[in-house]
Point group: C2
Chain length 659, copies 2
C-alpha cells in the first residue's frame, strides 16, 4: 500500500485487500531477532483482515537454519482478526518467518451455495461462479492438484442430482485444496521478515563461578597454574555450578603495569591485571606462561567438561603496550599527532596500561577479521562460551557483524555482555546478538527496586531480546549491602540471584567465604583485590556458605521453573522487607515459591497472600531446603524469617494441589 | 547495520557508531502518519546513543507540506539517552520528519583540553588533535563557516599564551560551529522517515447534527426541499451545532426500492432509501430533484455557512440498479456468470436494490479516477467534509490512494469513517487517512465500559491515529438504553458524548424529541424510520431537550478542555452508577469536571475524590449549567444526582484554585 507522503499516482495494479499487522513476537518490525532456545515452541500471532467479510487463508512461513525453502504452517483464526500458529525450533541459528494471506473465494462461493441451499433457493449462477473460480485455481496449481481440481469442476458441471451436487460443491477437502492456489497479485505478505535467534540452553540458563586461576594454589602464596586450578574444579562442581569463568588467561603486559590495590606503579613481584592483555609471550591467542601452556589450558577445559562444567573465556578487546599487535599492526590503534599511541583515558584520568583498538581505522577490515580469528581459534579449542568485557565501548556494527559471522561456524557460541552502562546501550547490545548480559541486579537491593527491575526484564519488549545474568558480586563490585550485612547478606543476595534469574554467577572464593573487606569506605573495590595481586586463600576458611550454595544450585537443577524468567509473579506480603515470588512450572513441573527476608539484621514477619486454588482450597507445599511437606490452607499464610536462623524459604507446590 | 540473517560479509565501510531508536510519535516505524491539528506543537523524542562516551550532535529534520528542503531543529539531551525537540505545525498536509546524529569530535577534544587544563597537565598533542579535527570540518564546511574555522585553527596554532589558547580552544560558539560539519559516512539517520498528517480543527472537533432534508417541512407530510431545510438551520445553530449532515442527497433508484419500515416491496408513494443512489436523474454528482437543484443545494450550504455551520456530505460508494454508471460502465460492477450484475448479499439475505462497485475490476483505474472526480466535483462546490458510508467494505489501498490524492487538491478535506465493524478494521481505516471515525460509544453504557473504552481511545497507540466521533443514536441505531430510559437517558448519553469526545453528533429531530419507538422489540431500528418514508414532525413537540443541548454545546464552545480527548482522567467516585471525569484545560484554560448519573431511573449518591491542591487545599468550582460558584474543600465531596431533577453536573475549576 502507498504512504500518504509517497507519490500518489494510481498504483500499477490493485494491491492485495488483506492487511497483516501486529505480529508477535517481533522487535522493531523485524529489525532485530527475538531470542529463543532450541526445543522451544514458538507461537506466532498477527492481526490479519481484509475489507468486507470474505474468508481468509492465512499461513505462517518459516525458514529454519540451513534451509532455503519456506515451510508453511496454517494459521488459525482465534477471533477478532487474531490469527496464530506455532512451531518448534531445534537447529541453532537464525530462523526467519513471515505471514502470507489471501482471500479464499472458493470457500466464499462454496459457503454461499450451502447457505442459500439451506434457505431453499439454490441459484445456478452460484454454481457457475464456483466452477469458474476452481478452474482458475486449477490453472495455477501443481499437476497433481490440477488434475483433482479439474475433475471436481467436471463433476460439478455434469452432476444433475441437486443433493449430490450440493455435497460436491461443499466438499471440505476439495474446497481446502482449491484455496491453496490464489492469484499471486492478491497475496499479502508481511512487509519485513521477522527473525528468531535460536541458541542452546546455556544462552539462558546457568550458574556461573568466576575465579582467578593464578590464585588457586590454596594455602600457598605463589602464582598458581592451570594444574592447581584443576584441583579446584571438584569443589566447584559440588557447589553445583555449570560454568567456570577464569577471567583473562593471556600474557600480561609490563608497560605501566598496575601495582597492588591498583597502585599507579608496580613493585618488582607484582603480577599485574589480567585485563592488560599481551606481552612478548603473545596476545589474545596465547596463554600466560605462569599459568601454563595451551595444553594446560586445554587440560583445564577437559577436566571441567568431564565434571559437567563449561569453561567461559574472556574476550577483552584491548591491548597492553607490549601486545604483539602494537608492534605488528600499529595502525589498529589511534595515533596521536605526536606519534604516540592513544591510551585509554577519562580526562583527566589516564589508563596508560591499556590501548583500545580503533575499530574505524584505515585498516579496520583486517582488525575485524583478526578478532574473528581469535574467536575461531578458541572455538577450535572447544570454547563455546565468552564473557565479553566492556562491549559498550566498541561499535555496535562491529559486534553485530562479529557475532553473526562467528555463529556461521559455531552456532552454539554463547556471549555474555559485560556492559554495566545505560539501559539503552545494554539493550542495544542484546538486540544485536549478545546471548545474555550483566544487569543492574548488583545494585537493586530493596523490595520495590527488585520488583520493578525484574518486572521490566521479564515483560515485553525486554523479555524478547535481553537475557539477564545476575551477579551479587564481581571482582570490581563488593556492594555496600554485602560489606555490612554479614553472612545473611551473602545468602540473601545469592538466593535472589539464583532464583530470580535463570543465569546467575558469583565471584569466588570471596563470595562463599563472605569476604566483605573493602578497599576504602564508600567504594566497591575489594581490599587486596585479586585483580592486582596473588592472594593467599585459606583451604579451611572459618566462614563459608558452600553448603547453602550447593543446596540452592541443586534446587535450580531440579526444578525447570527456575530455568525461565518469564511469568514470575510477585505475591502480596505485608512486610516491607519480605519479598515473595512464584516461578511457574514448565510442562507440568511444580511451581516454585520463594520468600526472602531482605533485611540481614532483623526478624521480619508478614502475611503472605497465596491461594492457587481459591480461598477454600488446600494444597501441599514442600520446603526444598529441609524436605518437609506441609498442607497450606486459606488465602493467607504467616511468614517469619529471622536472619539468625534463616533468611529465606523455597517451596515447591507438589501434585495437583488438591489434597 | 546488518541483520543477523543478512549476508554477513564484512560491510563496505564502517557504519555510523550512533544508534537512533524509540522515536515518538510514530506508528509502526513510520508506515502510517500520526495525526495532528494545524497549530499544534509536536514534540519528537528518541533514544540516541553510541558506543563509548563520546558527545553527540542530534538534530530533528522536518519537511513541511509544499517544501522540498529539510528544516533542522537541534535536539536536546533529556537524560538517559533520550533526546527531544519540538516544532509547530501550520500548513495542512503531510509533514515528514527524521532524526540525524553524529559524534562531535570537536566537542570531545575541546572538553578534554578543558578537563586536563583544570587538572593542570595540558598536553600539546591534545591541541594538535583538535586543530586537525577543526581543519577536517573546515574542509567540509560552507565558505563562510570555512573561513571562520580556518581562522580558528590559525589562531590556535599561533597563540603562545596558554591562558588565551585555552579560552580559544573552548570557545563555545566556535566549538558549536565546528561540530556542524561531520564526515558524512559517520552520520546516522533514522531508518524510515516518520510522517504527520496535519489537518484543520474540524478533523478533531465538532458537534454534528444529522437530519433528513426531505423531512424538514415540519407540520406538513410532504417531501421537503432544501428551501425547507434552510428554515431548520437557525434552530440547529441555536442548539450550538457546528456541522449539519443531511445524509445522501442524490437521486434515489426505483429498481427493488424498499418500502416503509424496510419492506421488501414499496408502494406507489414510497420515497425509498437515500442510500440507493442513482436514477435517470443522475448519480453521485446529482441532487435529488424532489430536494431541488444543485443551486438549491448550494444555497443550503451557503446559508449554513453564513450561520457558522459546515455541511458534511455523504460519500456512499454504491449504486442503485438505475444509476447511470450501471448503463455507462457495467464493467465497474461484478458480473455473474448468468450475465446479471452482482447485487449486495449476505447469504441467504439479498439486497437487490444495491450494486457494490468491484474495485478490482479490469477497468478499476477508471473507476477509482471517477470516484476521485466525485470528491473533486463537490470540493469545487465548497464541500470539505465527508461522512463516508461503510468504508470497511471497500479496499484499504483504494482509500489510502483516494484520500491522499484528493488532499493534494484540497488539504482541508476531512473524512468521517462510518465503519461499525471490528476494531482492527476501524483502526486500519484511521491509520490510512480517515480523519475521524464512528465508534462503539453507541453501545458502551456502563461505567466500566465507558472507562475502558475511553481509556483505550485516549492512550497510545490509538490516540495517535484514531479520532472518535461519539453518536448516541443514528438513523440505524436506537439503543435499548434510549428505548427504555426516557428523557434522562437522552440527556445522559448526550452529555457523555459531548464531553467525552471532541467530536460527537446526534440524529435529529428524533434525538432532541426523545423519540424512543423501536420497530420491533429487541432491535435497534426506529419505527417508521425516516430512512424509508416521509415523516411528519410536529413543529411544537411536547417533549424536547433542545435547551439542554444548546447549553452543553455552548459549554463545549467556551472551554478548550472539551476540544481535546487526550489526558482525560477518571476520578474515583464510590458509586457504581456515578461516573466522574476531569478534562484538563489547554494553554491555561480551566479544567472541566463532569459527573454523570448513568442510571436514568434512580437517585444515586457517592463520594467523589478530587483534591487538585492536596488534602488541605480549597478551590472554587463553577457550575456551568447554572453559573453558581462554590468553594470546595478537602479531598472528598458528596455528590447526589437524581434523574428527576438532574442527571449530571459540569464544573469548571476557575482561577489558580487557591481561594
Amino acid at each position: 500500500m502507498m504512504n500518504p507522503q509517497s507519490d500518489s499516482m494510481i498504483p500499477d495494479h490493485p494491491q492485495s485487500r488483506v492487511v497483516i499487522s501486529g505480529i508477535d513476537p517481533e522487535i522493531d518490525l523485524g529489525r532485530y531477532p527475538v531470542k529463543r532456545l532450541s526445543g522451544d515452541r514458538v507461537t506466532v500471532s498477527a492481526n490479519v483482515f481484509c475489507d468486507g467479510h470474505d474468508p481468509l487463508r492465512v499461513f505462517l512461513e518459516v525458514i529454519f537454519p540451513g534451509q532455503k525453502e519456506w515451510n508453511r504452517f496454517p494459521m488459525e483464526d482465534r477471533g477478532n482478526d487474531r490469527w496464530s500458529s506455532s512451531f518448534l525450533v531445534g537447529e541453532l541459528g537464525v530462523v526467519r518467518f513471515r505471514i502470507i494471506a489471501w482471500i479464499d473465494l472458493i470457500v466464499a462461493f462454496s459457503d454461499r451455495i450451502a447457505k442459500k441451499a439451506a434457505a431453499g433457493h439454490t441459484e445456478e449462477t452460484d454454481y457457475a461462479e464456483l466452477i469458474i473460480e476452481i478452474q482458475k485455481a486449477a490453472d495455477r496449481a501443481d499437476p497433481v492438484s490440477r488434475t483433482a481440481l479439474e475433475k471436481w469442476t467436471e463433476r460439478l458441471s455434469r452432476e444433475s442430482d441437486p443433493g449430490i451436487r450440493l455435497v460436491l460443491a461443499t466438499d471440505s477437502s476439495l474446497v481446502d485444496l482449491g484455496g491453496l492456489f490464489p492469484d499471486p497479485v492478491s497475496v499479502a505478505h508481511s512487509r519485513e521478515d521477522r527473525t528468531i535467534l535460536v541458541e542452546r540452553e546455556r544462552a539462558a540458563v546457568g550458574a556461573w563461578y568466576e575465579f582467578f586461576p593464578r590464585n588457586s594454589a590454596w594455602g600457598e602464596r605463589r602464582h598458581a597454574t592451570f594444574q592447581d586450578a584443576i584441583k579446584r574444579l571438584p569443589e566447584i562442581r559440588q557447589m553445583g555450578f555449570d560454568v567456570v569463568y577464569p577471567g583473562p588467561v593471556h600474557p600480561i603486559g609490563y608497560g605501566f603495569r598496575k601495582g597492588k590495590n591498583n597502585a599507579p606503579e608496580c613493585g618488582p613481584g607484582d603480577v599485574g591485571s589480567p585485563w592488560a592483555i599481551g606481552s612478548d609471550h603473545g596476545g589474545h591467542t596465547a596463554i600466560h606462561p605462569d599459568l601454563g601452556s595451551i595444553a594446560d589450558f586445554e587440560a583445564f577445559v577437559f577436566e571441567a567438561r568431564s565434571l559437567g562444567i563449561e569453561v567461559a573465556m574472556e574476550l577483552a578487546l584491548q591491548c597492553s603496550p607490549d601486545h604483539p599487535y602494537v608492534r605488528e599492526h600499529p595502525g589498529w590503534f589511534r595515533m596521536r599527532p605526536d606519534g604516540s599511541i592513544h591510551y585509554a583515558e577519562n580526562p583527566p584520568k589516564k589508563y596508560q596500561d591499556i590501548y583500545p583498538f580503533d575499530f574505524h581505522c584505515a585498516d579496520w577490515k583486517a582488525l575485524w577479521q583478526e578478532i574473528l580469528g581469535v574467536l575461531l581459534f578458541w572455538g577450535e579449542k572447544g570454547i563455546r562460551l565468552f564473557r565479553v568485557d566492556n562491549p559498550h565501548t566498541k561499535p555496535f556494527a562491529f559486534w553485530e557483524w562479529l557475532l553473526s559471522t562467528v555463529r556461521k561456524t559455531y552456532p552454539d557460541m554463547v556471549f555474555l555482555s559485560e556492559a554495566f552502562t545505560r539501559p539503552n546501550v545494554m539493550y542495544e547490545l542484546a538486540k544485536i546478538g549478545f546471548s545474555q548480559s550483566y544487569t543492574y541486579f548488583t545494585w537493586r537491593i530493596t523490595k520495590a527496586e527488585l520488583i520493578d527491575y525484574v518486572t521490566e526484564l521479564t515483560t515485553f519488549p525486554v523479555k524478547e531480546f535481553f537475557r539477564p545474568n545476575f551477579w551479587p558480586n564481581t571482582p570490581d563490585i563488593l556492594h555496600d549491602f554485602l560489606q555490612r550485612g554479614g553472612l545473611p547478606a551473602f545468602v540473601i543476595r545469592l538466593v535472589l540471584a539464583a532464583t530470580l534469574s535463570s543465569s546467575y554467577g558469583i565471584f569466588g572464593p570471596s563470595y562463599e567465604r563472605c569476604d566483605a573487606t573493602v578497599l576504602y569506605e564508600g567504594g566497591e573495590e575489594y581490599l587486596d583485590s585479586e585483580k592486582y595481586e596473588i592472594r593467599l586463600w585459606d583451604p579451611d576458611p572459618p566462614v563459608t556458605i558452600r553448603e547453602t550454595i550447593a543446596r540452592i544450585n541443586g534446587i535450580r537443577n531440579q526444578y525447570p521453573a527456575l530455568h525461565r524468567n518469564e511469568g514470575v509473579q510477585f505475591l502480596s506480603i505485608e512486610e516491607e522487607f519480605l519479598l515473595a515470588y512464584l516461578k511457574p512450572g514448565v510442562n507440568g513441573t511444580p511451581d516454585i515459591l520463594v520468600i526472602v527476608n531482605l533485611d540481614p539484621y532483623n526478624r521480619r514477619e508478614g502475611l503472605l497472600s497465596y491461594a492457587p486454588f481459591g480461598s477454600s482450597g488446600s494444597f501441599s507445599m514442600k520446603n526444598l531446603m529441609d524436605g518437609t511437606i506441609s498442607i497450606w490452607e486459606g488465602e493467607t499464610h504467616r511468614v517469619v524469617l529471622d536472619p539468625q536462623m534463616n533468611s529465606f524459604l523455597i517451596f515447591s507446590r507438589e501434585g495437583d494441589g488438591k489434597t
